[in-house]
Symmetry: C4
Subunit: 215 residues, 4 copies
Amino acid sequence: MIAELRVRVAALHRELTRYGLVSWTAGNVSARVPGEDLMVIKPSGVSYDDLGPESMVVTDLHGRLVDGDLAPSSDTAAHAYVYRHLPEVGGVAHTHSPYATAWAARGEPIPCVLTMIADEFGGDIPVGPFALIGDDSIGRGIVETLRGSRSPAVLMRNHGPFTVGQDARAAVKAAVLLEDVARTVHFAHQLGTPASIEAHHIDHLYARYQNVYGQ
Amino acid sequence: MIAELRVRVAALHRELTRYGLVSWTAGNVSARVPGEDLMVIKPSGVSYDDLGPESMVVTDLHGRLVDGDLAPSSDTAAHAYVYRHLPEVGGVAHTHSPYATAWAARGEPIPCVLTMIADEFGGDIPVGPFALIGDDSIGRGIVETLRGSRSPAVLMRNHGPFTVGQDARAAVKAAVLLEDVARTVHFAHQLGTPASIEAHHIDHLYARYQNVYGQ
Amino acid sequence: MIAELRVRVAALHRELTRYGLVSWTAGNVSARVPGEDLMVIKPSGVSYDDLGPESMVVTDLHGRLVDGDLAPSSDTAAHAYVYRHLPEVGGVAHTHSPYATAWAARGEPIPCVLTMIADEFGGDIPVGPFALIGDDSIGRGIVETLRGSRSPAVLMRNHGPFTVGQDARAAVKAAVLLEDVARTVHFAHQLGTPASIEAHHIDHLYARYQNVYGQ
Amino acid sequence: MIAELRVRVAALHRELTRYGLVSWTAGNVSARVPGEDLMVIKPSGVSYDDLGPESMVVTDLHGRLVDGDLAPSSDTAAHAYVYRHLPEVGGVAHTHSPYATAWAARGEPIPCVLTMIADEFGGDIPVGPFALIGDDSIGRGIVETLRGSRSPAVLMRNHGPFTVGQDARAAVKAAVLLEDVARTVHFAHQLGTPASIEAHHIDHLYARYQNVYGQ
């Protein structure tokens, strides 16, 4: 299982570069190892060109290295905190994707003015607190914000987005769609005020997308 | 014929990714099967990397599966409605391309201030109503809006664009040019007000492009 | 010589797609055949993927087909007019690149606020008149505007840019740098007013770049 | 050592094109040859497609050609001045990346409103003077501005950014992250005013990133 997760998590980093969500080595994806207090995560400061399954790192859910030759991502503590406190989460992604981070810099939630936001995020996309790296502050900010929302994404103030999902692929999907809607709503706001979607329509769209979409 | 349409429709999805009109698995193209009450359409929630001719789905014009191993696009009902009510349409494309969707979010038509808009769209690009997925609402909104316009594109409010054409390639071309002009006019409006093109010039440009351009 | 120009002109179209200056089949490059009243130009409405040397078209300087299997670009008359009236011009390029076209839509020259504009364009980048396709109007608008300027680029109102050069490569270079500076100055104007470069500094930069830069 | 630096510097130019920091042949990277008064730099006006190790040029720290078949970059004097006056610098990069250059055109420092700016730049990213090419003016402007800052990047007014690092890779990394944050802060300012990060938090972030991040 860990070998397979190494392959999957390494491959998912290619979606971050494909969609322009990351520059240089910033941004990372992790997956919980099902049934164990372990996770698979990107190493710190390694080029996306050089990320293969063998360079992925295994840590426990306090971020201590269990397997791997490289130091884990500097955001490992935040990922670990999320897995400890949100048992339904199986994957976490973190980027500084430009439009989502611009909303985060202003500390402004992304309003639910598109059907795609209702589908995937179930309402406005919330803002988390400013938090310094180095202890549990970022992880706590993510968890406290997501607990009050249907959204799998949180915009950490002055920093950038974190997204979660039932597995790493779902977390990366949320990161991709987040940047897409952050950008479109940014464009819409530049030239006017988009109309809101009514709450009962948001509920209808969210329920349908979560249950009917896909194979 | 269906085998050939599977090849063409699958290949046309690559234009959606090439021009950045879609993220993840959102967006879809279909083609009417000439002389039959059938259409070929993308399956729901499948990655663009994995779309080959064999993964395309055949449905009737009420969206019921006729051939294929996968569930059809969640937008199949809208495509089917268009084919039932606009017999001259042979292809439909749907995206959430960012600039066009920003105009849709504000419910604002794209004004005909570029010769390319006159050429391809024959005037302002119209806005369709807000409509929920799940019944004929989206299809009806598309058809009612396009009937009052020369435009092959409609901006569905809070949702995104649908485009039509005599075949699937023409519908995809309209989707590509729509995003191009939505973006340029967005840029123009950010720093001022572009001059309008007079109606008789629009008519001249539209007539020439529809009849003389190409091979 | 014509065989070699077919290769070069076909290859230069790849720079238009590489830099995102064109969508679908819009945009075209031509080269004058030195010492003859002929030019090599792109065919009309052919996909950039399918443009090889053999698909290029040879016309006289009134746009009449001399060699080639395909109909020439619908902008052939404008290219031909430029070659007839500006003997120093050996190449012409036309795009609807988005930022340059946004300035064209507003009918606003791009002010010389960057050293790159002084280097390549020698001052503000001028706006040409609104002109309909189908006769010499576009060509005349280009020539009359460029005659009053050091700029190799003109922003044709509500339409898009045309650029010229001593050969086709220089015209394409001007098209690429035009979009680059159109974009940067657009960004600068969105959040304030960039400082002007003084006229004698522009002269210094232009003279140096035209004479010292390159191999 | 020079042979290895030719390989490295040539390869680093691919990062400039990958991240869209340069158009045509504008932009250049150099590396100091450790222990010698020499540097390796890009030739002038050569296409990025044609840059291999053998096309790199070796000059002394006054920009005089020492080895290579091509004329050195027209920005060689500025690179050389930096190496003469900042002995800790081992690499220099110069681009006209669009968002950073827009800040430079307005002569406006990029405020430290993102954790990524605190991490990599240690505070606001400063503006350097307007300077003409052709003597030591640009180099002097870079050095005087960087001496008063922790930032490895300076926005040269009406021109574009220069970045430095302990080696060429670090200088290119700074150029990439500079454009990333220039863009995100541009977006943030378009729709409001981002909150500042307090000075002691900036110090904390900068110290941690410089000492803990990476392998």
